[in-house]
């Protein structure tokens, strides 16, 4: 927030909505085109937009992490998967209209539901709110109060890595 305090509110609003536009259009590109590469690129765009929104929400650190982990790692991993499974060379079946319609209906219902939950709820901010957004505090908390969660997440990541290697690598050896 402090980052944008010097900018006038109008400009800030404009920047915000531009970011939102990037995010939404990136999400649309990630979902609608049938070429998988466009999807990945759209995802990267949407994730970057979300990183921008994090900036607007006041967390420089999380925005950086978003770029690092999602745009940098996850998207690249998906690109790798695309290259390894060569979906580009496979048939791209025609859209099944009923399926798309049903999916649209379901997600529309879900959108209406969640949006109305958001709008209908009376959100009450906490009475006393700390203003400490520093990275030091996050690091401190991660290593003290949330250490167990931190460790468990590390373990989950480790298991995921090993599991990924096993499913992707060993099955090849077993099947061949």
């Amino acid at each position: 927030m402090d980052t944008f305090s010097s900018v006038t509110p109008v400009l800030a609003q404009a920047a915000f909505w531009i970011t939102v536009g990037f995010t939404v259009s990136g999400a649309a590109i990630a979902v609608f085109p049938r070429n998988i590469l466009y999807n990945v690129l759209g995802l990267a765009l949407a994730l970057s937009g979300i990183a921008g929104l994090y900036l607007f929400l006041g967390s420089f650190f999380i925005a950086l992490m978003q770029l690092l982990i999602y745009v940098g790692a996850v998207c690249i991993a998906i690109v790798f998967a695309i290259m390894l499974s060569r979906p580009l060379h496979l048939e791209t079946p025609k859209r099944a209209i009923p399926k798309v319609a049903l999916g649209l209906a379901a997600s529309a219902v879900f959108f209406v539901a969640s949006a109305s939950v958001a709008l209908r709820t009376e959100w009450v901010p906490a009475v006393e709110r700390s203003t400490d957004w520093s990275v030091e505090t996050i690091g401190h908390m991660l290593l003290t109060r949330y250490e167990l969660v931190f460790e468990v997440i590390s373990l989950v990541l480790l298991v995921a890595i090993i599991g990924a290697i096993v499913t992707a690598g060993f099955s090849r050896r077993l099947s061949s």
Partner: protein
């Protein structure tokens, strides 16, 4: 339990009635391999029982009333089941009889069963039998009585089917077990009705209530008739009488025990045990009288045609039991019990004598025994003749006195038909028993030459004068002595003893009937003469046909082949039962059960399986393999649910 050492009566009761069970357990668990030791343990245990029974009898002979020990077994609501001992003259007398007969039979078996591979097992079962019977006798409540009643049935099943590898033996055991069970179902139903209607199963309570008519009349009649079913099954009364002749598959000493003091006597004993209760229901008494009469006549006729020495006595047991039931049903409490006592003595005697013959000649056929020189075995021949005389009711043997008592009771009945039936029964009894005696003692054409040359005589001589023979002969002699004195010297003491109980009880009225038969038309002397002459006429008839030098030895019945056949086939009762079994049980019930099993139970299970499978098939379309449809339904459902709860 701390009262145990201080009370000799209780101590004797507990010891006497539980030692045989202990011996059975010890034999079955520890000493099966050692035959000598097993038999000694068993005989010692039953000896102790005998001693304590005699002690109790002597100690309590002048007791003012019944002695009762009981402890609560379990209670349900306000219904208590007591478990305990009930010592009154009847149970003391019966306890003594059981102990004496069981003891003598076990001693006898030392000889009879010598060398049998199942010797230890035999003694274990004998102990079980004695234990069950003695506990049944002194049971304080009907439920306890029923439990030991069933144990008696179990023990006799085990002993009848002792040679279980023999088909006919195992069949006979099964038959005895199942047929008595048929009656026991009725017995148990009767007990249940009593529990529901009366709420107390104590024997003294039942008797008091019966005598004072404090139970509704219908309840008494229904439960008494049902309990009578138990008597019919156990004491082999009509129509459940055919199991007893088949029970001959057991060893002869077992038959002796079974026929005299234990198994079949249990039914009559139970009848007399709750006699005041029964006598409160004239309908049940009349039914019992009719059943006893039919049984007696039927069984006597059957005994007239068989050549199997044991079967003759088996039929005679049935007919004598019928006579006892008649006596009891006619209100002759003492007569019935007295005949039960004397019959136990002379029937055991007859069986044990037959056992010696069978053991020596390895056959049951009286003609062969006679031909091979049965009369050379002097002791059993004489003793058997004594037994047969008692059975025929000849003075001065014990049967005479008890039979006279019964005839006196029957004469006191309003209808004379019962008396005539009793006299016919006496006649037939004398006829068939002396038919047997003459077959053995006076064989046609003398003793056969093969036996004269004595190809197996030496071995017999050795055997008969050794340990084995005397083990068998001594009990026989004792029993013969008992048969002689039991009537002559003990009628009045016994009468006083037994009647004492009823005098203390509340049914003394019932006794009056038979003590004064003169009041009912027939003089006592005339009755006596009638009874004796019936017996003597039967003996004379038997002598005329079988005993005299140039007699035909076929019997007058052989002139009527169809009647012979009727008697020989037990009045077609077995065939009838077999047919009934085939049609009612196998064709009817069993097929119904089979159908029930196949159609209903299997069908139900198949149906459950079918519906499960069909349901699975029906719902498997949800598993379309289209993951996204599942997800779609989930998302849609979640959205709709959120909207639903929001609005």
């Amino acid at each position: 339990m701390d009262a145990l050492p201080r009370d000799p009566v209780l101590l004797a009761t507990v010891l006497g009635t539980s030692l045989p069970f202990l011996s059975m357990a010890v034999i079955l668990i520890f000493t099966r391999a050692n035959r000598q030791l097993s038999s000694r343990i068993s005989v010692a245990a039953i000896g102790c029982s005998l001693a304590s029974a005699l002690f109790l009898l002597i100690t309590l002979r002048a007791a003012p009333g019944a002695i009762q020990y009981q402890t609560e077994w379990f209670s349900s609501g306000n219904f208590n089941v007591a478990f305990g001992y009930y010592l009154d003259p009847l149970s003391l007398l019966m306890l003594t009889i059981v102990a004496v007969i069981a003891f003598l039979v076990q001693v006898y078996s030392l000889g009879y069963m010598a060398g049998d591979p199942g010797f230890s097992r035999y003694y274990a079962f004998q102990s079980l039998f004695a234990w069950a019977m003695m506990n049944m006798v002194i049971a304080g409540s009907l439920l306890q009585l029923f439990i030991f009643w069933e144990l008696v049935g179990l023990a006799s099943y085990l002993l009848i089917g002792f040679y279980y590898e023999k088909w006919s033996a195992s069949q006979a055991g099964k038959k005895a077990f199942v047929m008595t069970r048929v009656g026991d179902v009725g017995f148990f139903l009767g007990i249940i009705i009593l529990v529901i209607g009366f709420g107390n199963l104590g024997i003294p309570e039942l008797n008091t209530a019966g005598a004072s008519h404090s139970i509704p009349q219908q309840l008494i009649t229904v439960s008494a008739l049902l309990i009578l079913c138990g008597v019919i099954g156990k004491s082999a009364q009509f129509p459940l009488l055919t199991w007893l002749p088949d029970a001959m598959e057991g060893q002869t000493p077992v038959s002796a025990l079974l026929h005299s003091a234990t198994m079949v006597a249990a039914g009559v004993y139970m009848f007399s045990r709750i006699f005041p209760f029964f006598s409160a229901s004239p309908e049940a008494m009349t039914a019992a009288l009719a059943i006893g009469t039919v049984t007696m006549i039927l069984a006597s006729t059957m005994a007239m045609v068989t050549y199997d020495i044991k079967q003759v006595w088996a039929y005679s047991t049935i007919s004598q039991l019928g006579l006892m039931v008649m006596a009891l049903a006619a209100g002759g409490y003492f007569a019935g019990v007295y005949h039960l006592t004397t019959h136990a003595g002379f029937k055991a005697l007859l069986f044990l004598c037959s056992g010696i013959f069978i053991h020596s000649f390895h056959t049951n056929d009286m003609r062969i025994i006679g031909k091979e020189g049965g009369r050379r075995l002097t002791i059993p021949t004489v003793c058997m003749t004594i037994g047969a005389l008692a059975l025929a009711g000849v003075f001065p043997f014990s049967g005479f006195f008890s039979k006279e008592a019964i005839l006196g009771v029957l004469a006191a009945q309003p209808g004379k038909i019962w008396l005539y039936a009793g006299l016919i029964g006496a006649l037939l009894t004398a006829y068939y028993s002396f038919r047997l005696i003459f077959y053995i003692v006076l064989p046609q054409g003398g003793i056969s030459a093969s036996s004269d040359s004595g190809h197996h005589e030496p071995s017999h001589d050795e055997e008969h004068h050794g340990y084995i023979f005397w083990a068998m002969a001594v009990p026989v002699i004792i029993l013969a002595g008992l048969t002689l004195i039991l009537g002559l010297f003990f009628e009045h003491p016994l009468q006083g003893f037994i009647s004492g109980m009823l005098g203390h009880g509340s049914a003394s009225v019932l006794l009056v009937q038979h003590t004064t038969p003169e009041a009912h038309g027939i003089g006592h002397e005339l009755l006596l003469a009638l009874g004796v002459s019936a017996g003597l006429f039967g003996i004379a008839l038997a002598w005329f046909e079988f005993g005299r030098k140039d007699s035909s030895r076929t019997g007058f019945l052989s002139c009527f082949p169809s009647i012979w056949r009727l008697f020989d086939l037990r009045w077609f009762m077995d065939i009838f039962f077999r047919k009934a079994l085939d049609t009612a049980v196998y064709a009817g019930l069993t097929s119904l059960f089979t159908k029930n099993d196949r159609r209903i139970i299997d069908g139900a299970i198949d149906g459950i399986c079918f519906f499960t499978e069909a349901g699975g098939r029906l719902f498997s379309f949800l598993q379309s393999g289209m993951l996204q449809y599942n997800l779609l339904v989930m998302a849609l459902g979640a959205g709709v649910a959120i909207l639903f709860f929001l609005v």
